[in-house]
């Protein structure tokens, strides 16, 4: 069995090399040629080689997060997370048809990675130490931060220091909720099921503010004229790409890919096409090769 599979890999690599040689010779389009050439460069047996050979990748992302991963009527998710996943897929030589999108919500991201249901997760996935014990993280590719959204007519909340004694709405069981409970003991936390459910109680005066990652709040502020984001972000939420635990080869390769995307402007391009429509374009973050 082992012999046969080694033989198969050898055969595939040879054919890949031949193919790349061919396409390099007579193909006028540079892009496919380059990506096919990449396939041959991957070390044998690595996750990159496996994905590239299969020509398929399964990406876990959010389906309900405006600006980052939001599924439109056509069923294809749009957003910055989605563009980042596309950059990685194209560097593996996988085209649009080879990417299958799978919805991951905050509670099931680790489980999906561990069970192999998804190859990578790009889903506003904050890197933290507890999660690092379960999965590996490449990136970060973006630094978000928790911020505050309130009515434009509110005068007594200008930043995180004004939250004492106020009612702040967030999502039950989310990281922002945990932050509020740990760092704002005088604030009354009002947990709902989703962030959009916080908006009506905010307008009715039943809560004073909504708090979560600034990128989510910016989406709401852009869609609703009566709402605005106040103050500077008061936490750091580095968004990373989740992959299988201890797949260091794959992690290093994604980190290299991200750095290349930072350098050649494709990261900025992806940002400006999605979240950049309502948020200023930031400097690319420094990749954390832990």
């Amino acid at each position: 069995m082992r012999l046969r599979s080694t033989g198969l890999i050898a055969l595939l690599s040879v054919s890949a090399l031949t193919l790349s040689a061919c396409s390099g010779g007579d193909d006028t389009e540079p892009e496919p040629a380059a990506s096919t050439a990449d396939v041959a460069e991957f070390p044998e047996g690595s996750t990159m080689a496996k994905l590239a050979e299969a020509g398929k990748i399964t990406v876990g992302t959010k389906f309900d997060q405006p600006l980052f991963g939001l599924v439109g009527p056509d069923g294809v998710p749009e957003g910055f997370d989605v563009e980042i996943a596309r950059i990685i897929a194209s560097n593996l030589g996988i085209d649009e048809d080879g990417i299958s999108w799978k919805e991951t919500v905050s509670a099931n991201r680790e489980t999906f990675i561990k069970s192999g249901d998804v190859d990578i997760v790009v889903a506003t996935y904050t890197i933290n130490d507890k999660r690092k014990a379960e999965v590996s993280f490449a990136g970060p590719y973006y630094l978000a931060g928790q911020s505050i959204l309130t009515l434009t007519t509110t005068t007594d909340i200008e930043g995180p220091d004004d939250l004492a004694g106020k009612k702040v709405c967030t999502v039950a069981g989310s990281t922002p909720e945990a932050n509020l409970l740990a760092n704002f003991p005088d604030t009354e936390v009002v947990p709902f099921g989703t962030y959009s459910e916080c908006l009506e109680p905010l307008r009715n005066g039943q809560v004073d503010a909504v708090s979560t990652d600034n990128v989510i709040l910016a989406g709401f502020a852009a869609d609703n004229e009566d709402l605005e984001v106040r103050g500077e972000p008061f936490t750091e939420e580095p968004y990373g790409i989740g992959l299988g635990l201890e797949d260091d080869e794959f992690r290093t390769w994604i980190n290299d890919t991200l750095e290349a995307a930072f350098a050649d402007g494709s990261w900025t391009e992806a940002w400006e096409a999605t979240a950049g429509t309502v948020l200023p374009t930031p400097e690319p973050p420094a990749v954390d090769r832990y």
Binding site: A107, E110, E177, F192, P201, Q206
Partner: protein, 216 residues
Amino acid sequence: MNVIFDNIPAYLTGFLMTLKLSLVSGILALICGLFLAAFRVSPLTPLRALATTYVELLRNTPLTIVFFFLVFVAPQFGILAPLGFWTAVIALSAYTAAFVCEAVRSGINSVQFGQAEAARAIGLTFGQSLSLVILPQAVRTVIPPLINVFIALAKNTSVAAGFATVELMASGRRLATANPADTVWVLVGVALFYLAITIPAGILAGVVERKVAFAR
């Protein structure tokens, strides 16, 4: 497994909230349900129609929608229920009252019609014959279905987790976020604490049932 023992205080806070919700809504639902049942068997057509409409409306609406209505729709008509505990109590007791009413009504119907006729014949009013003759007999048949209703209520309190109430389920979600490796055990702990309410309720039902049992 250890995640449950390490977080007993967090579980207890949620558990107490769930218990408080179940008790307060249970008592309110029992009172409203009794009145609704009395309305449903009363000789006055408008009262019967009112109670029937209420029961059919609430009994056939999902509890989540009752919550949604109270939290997101009612404010548009100027009705602002205090968010959190009291919203949950109102939604849960309004919803459960419909089920209490039907359980009690079935008990009332189980008492032979002759009893009501005899009570009226000796000059008791409708209220007197209901409270002195019929309900004491009806209670015996009503206990088991009523306990069912209250067990369902205890579990239904989990719906409040999505509506600004930090009860057992919401505490469980917080713990799951804090312990991503032990999500399954966190939920097992939540289930155990629900059992701590529902199993004693079932035992209590058995005891009460034996106490009030009578030879027919």
